[in-house]
Amino acid sequence: MPASAITSAASAPALQLLVAGIVALVLLAAGAVPLARKAGGSALVYGAAAAICVLVLGTALSSLGGAPASLILPPGLPELGGRLRLDALAAVGLDGDGLGGAAASPFALGFPPGCAPGGAGGGASPPGAMPATSRRRNGCCPSIPPSWPA
Amino acid sequence: MGLTGGLLIQSAQMALVLALAPLLTGVVRKAKARLQRRQGASVLQPYRDLARLFRKEAVLAENASPLFRAAPYVIFAATWVAAALVPTFATGLVFSWTADLIVITALLASARFFLALAGMDVGTSFGGIGSSREMMISSLAEPAMLMLVFTLALVARSTQLSTVAQVMLTSGVGLRVSLALALVALVMVAVAENGRIPIDNPSTHLELTMVHEAMVLEYSGPHLAMIELAGQLKLVLYLSLIGCVFVPWGLAPAGASVLALAAGVLAWAAKMAVGALLLALFETSIAKMRVFRVPDFLGAALMLGLLGTLLLFVSRSL
């Protein structure tokens, strides 16, 4: 299996772009580890993820009608290599991925880190009396005055 | 007749439906009063009520949100569009292909969706009672209606109302058991959807029993007028739906002459009157059901619809 990425069928530039997108996402994941602690880190990561997803969405939409393209990448099983194929069904699936990512990433920018969804604590149905929910301030959830006027 | 003629008929139908809706309700109330040996208000009383409400000022609860003010218009619009798509005096309307029976059912569902939300908006427990029960009733009535649509679609091989009416009119479908089941199921669903006696009492003021009334408790002035009109339009829709599918005689075919159209209107008016009297008779002869007997009532309608569909397979393929 030659080391370079041989292309059996006509591998449209779209497929190579998509592979580049996936590789970029994986690199972003690796890069995000040191960034996680820095202040602007999450914004940078989510912004980059949003950009890549928009790119993927674009290429997927453009290749909905196109002829299927396939690609064999060196990493993968010895005789088989990592085979990738972009046909219409894969394009529809990618639309979903790209769209979801492109919408979720900007949303995540607005979602301050450290806001534990369970922060308000579990609890069965609302207690009879008005809950005196005093809660330490943790970034996003506003601190609630201990006693709320009945 | 061309497009303009078609448009004319379509707009004539929409205007006719809108104009006669309060009259139909007036006739039903008058008939019920007479059956209960009461004088009863005049047949035109609903018009006066609507006019009075239009002139009064709208009192909104402090907690009412923009949705509360916009909901009546959306509810009225959805119901009016649905009513306009049901052929009354002529089939083959210009816009009949924009929507079929499933879309009409869904339009009524969206009207109910916004009505239930508006009911909950003010934040009183009565709005909650109304919306909660309305949603329970609709979660059974809508599947029954859709099973009805299946039966009609299997008989007429189409869900377009005008095509269904055409098939019923011309091809001599003949008496079929499944159609009879479908008729009974449609009547039951119509009673449930319009909040008539066995399910909900339209003229009640006893909080615990009301469903439709509880949701619109906080409305007043023009908003209440919109919702009342929407309710009356829905009654006209269901009666003309029953008329056009099961009593299709007198429907003017597409592109018919003005005379045929006039005959169509008369036939339709007659059907509406007979329908109103039957409804009044039915309502005075039955008492309101407990809320939790309603699921059995509507469950029966769903089973009738499903049975109708399955019976149709048997009769069609034998």
Binding site: A103, A104, F107, P126 | V59, A61, A99, T124, M135
Partner: protein, 564 residues
């Protein structure tokens, strides 16, 4: 938590692009593990960790099923080389009918456990809410779609021509999934759990479409199969849109109030108007209301169901209308579920201090939600172009394309035949908008424009305690009483305080998930019992271990003797 987000996206994209079993499973497992890491990102809360573990178990089970399925598919090839693992080799020599049937079952298990088909859905209401909102939006909106893609790729593309009965198991699982999913959503009081359970319902609708496509394709009606498959794919796109929108709204509410329980929210429309508007569009779309996109895919599915009498097989003829009834029931219950969710969270009066001091979400959130809401409306109004775009994917799978919808007059869609049925989202929207504005004009022109604010009439009762409003449990009480009593063993218990004690009485609702009670709990007990007994092996002494080694050796020799 941050690095796993791009990894999760990369994994999903890799699965979709994979053209051989190894890359597919590699991407699949990569996606599962990344999403597991995201689910337990808030590991401070105990229930998140439990949810993560249950999710990991189900993900492993799903991958095992898919691995076996690919093994069967690859077995078709002649030589025992790795080349057989590539999808093109699998397509070249399809599996034997028996192997194909087993592959269908395995694909249903594998993809079904990830998508959330009923018996295997138990992890979904636990895992999706545990993740941060943007991740649960991705998991519900996109990851379940990757599972559906996996099912379609294996069953429609690789497993060769379907047998006549292939539609039956899929429909038998999909119908109950739709109804059970939405009924379970009605019982929940946590916003994100309601959304996760409604994902189960939408997956049921998608698999009904897939089951219909299988049934029609196998019984010689490829045109209707194309319609059913298009309906399923259309609903895949729709669900990705409005479910992400709803999860973003839930996230915005969570950020604004720090509260997930519906019983503590209420009246948020006053504080968060734009979020409320976007959520209204999302709720209306998922309840399949006409001008929006949810209705179009359900309408197409119903059109496919209406064509069932053409099928020669009696079983399918009876099964499909029954599944249609289940679908209609699920649609109506979905509307009830989202009236409840929207009404209790956004309308009414705030039920807690947190809800009363909520603030509107920030710019990014609102733009993300607004864009998705506009897409929902666009897909609802212009279904034709979307259907044509999907034909590229449908044609190779069922062999035939649906008739072109893009160019039809007035943007309407006619799936099968002119006289049969047609729907025009655009005109319906125009009519509603026109008549609503007409009515508004008439009121402003003739009616009185005076508006006065006054305390709510409420039949004269002065009570202003916000807890007197309907809560999540009380709104679902009629539906719980009608549907939930048998299936979910829903019980309401009232605990009265001892006489003389002034403590308030409490009414609590208890329900259990039948899949958990009858399938997974006994399984868990059996496993722990077995492992209890097997635990003794860990505490043998050296000599016993030697005995074990010796026993194994002797056993192998005996086998060798008997078998060689």
């Amino acid at each position: 938590m941050l690095p796993f987000y791009p990894a999760f996206l990369a994994g999903m994209m890799l699965v979709v692009l994979a053209d051989d079993a190894f890359t597919f499973l590699f991407g699949w497992e990569f996606m599962s593990l990344a999403s597991f890491a995201l689910v337990v990102s808030h590991h401070g809360v105990a229930e998140n960790v439990r949810a993560g573990l249950v999710y990991l178990m189900m993900a492993a089970f799903g991958t095992l099923a898919l691995m076996l399925a690919f093994g069967l598919l690859a077995a078709g090839g002649e030589g025992v080389s790795l080349q057989a693992l590539s999808f093109s080799a699998m397509r070249a020599h399809g599996p034997t009918p028996l192997a194909a049937a087993v592959v269908l079952g395995l694909a249903l298990l594998g993809a079904g456990s990830k998508a959330g088909l009923v018996p295997l859905h138990v992890w979904l209401p636990l895992a999706h809410p545990a993740a941060p909102s943007h991740v649960s939006a991705l998991m519900s909106g996109v990851m379940t779609k990757v599972a559906v893609y996996g099912f379609i790729r294996i069953v429609f593309d690789l497993a060769g021509p379907p047998a006549w009965w292939w539609g039956v198991p899929v429909l038998l699982v999909a119908g109950p999934t739709a109804v059970a999913g939405v009924l379970y959503a009605l019982m929940q009081t946590d916003v994100k759990r309601v959304l996760a359970c409604s994902t189960i319902e939408n997956i049921g609708i998608i698999f009904v479409g897939l089951g219909l496509a299988l049934a029609f394709e196998a019984n010689g009606a490829p045109a209707v199969a194309a319609l059913a498959l298009t309906a399923a794919l259309f609903h895949v796109v729709n669900h990705a849109l409005f479910k992400s929108l709803l999860f973003f709204g839930a996230g915005a509410v969570l950020v604004a109030t720090g509260e997930k329980r519906m019983g503590m929210l209420g009246g948020l429309i006053h504080a968060m108007p734009q979020t409320a508007l976007a959520m209204l569009v999302g709720a209306a779309a998922i309840s399949a209301l006409p001008p929006l996109n949810g209705f179009v895919s359900e309408w197409l599915t119903f059109q496919a169901i209406l064509l069932s009498p053409d099928l020669p097989v009696w079983g399918l003829k009876m099964l499909i209308p029954a599944v249609g009834a289940l679908l209609a029931l699920a649609a109506a219950l979905a509307a009830a579920c989202f009236v409840r969710l929207y009404g209790i969270v956004f309308l009414g009066r705030p039920r807690s201090a947190a809800a009363s001091q909520a603030r509107e979400a920030d710019g990014f959130t609102r733009t993300a939600m607004a864009s998705l809401a506009v897409l929902c409306l666009a897909a609802g109004i212009l279904p034709g172009p979307v259907i044509d775009a999907l034909q590229g994917a449908v044609a190779p799978l069922v062999g035939v394309r649906m008739t072109g919808q893009g160019h039809l007059a007035w943007l309407s869609i006619i799936p099968v035949a002119e006289g049969r049925s047609s729907y025009n989202g655009f005109l319906v929207f125009v009519f509603i908008a026109l008549s609503a504005s007409l009515a508004a004009l008439a009121v402003h022109a003739f009616g009185s424009r005076a508006v006065r604010r006054a305390p709510a009439w409420d039949c004269g009762f002065p009570g202003d305690d916000p807890l007197a409003q309907y809560s999540a449990e009380s709104f679902a009480q009629p539906l719980r009483r009608v549907f939930g009593r048998s299936l979910f063993a829903a019980r309401e218990t009232v605990t009265m305080p001892p006489p003389g004690d002034m403590a308030p009485a409490r009414l609590s609702v208890s329900e259990r998930d039948p899949a958990w009670a009858f399938l997974f709990a006994p399984l868990g007990r059996a496993v722990s019992a077995l492992s209890g007994r097997a635990n003794a092996i860990a505490h043998l002494n050296i000599r016993n271990y030697l005995a074990l080694v010796f026993g194994a050796l002797v056993l192998l020799l005996v086998v060798l003797a008997l078998w060689a």
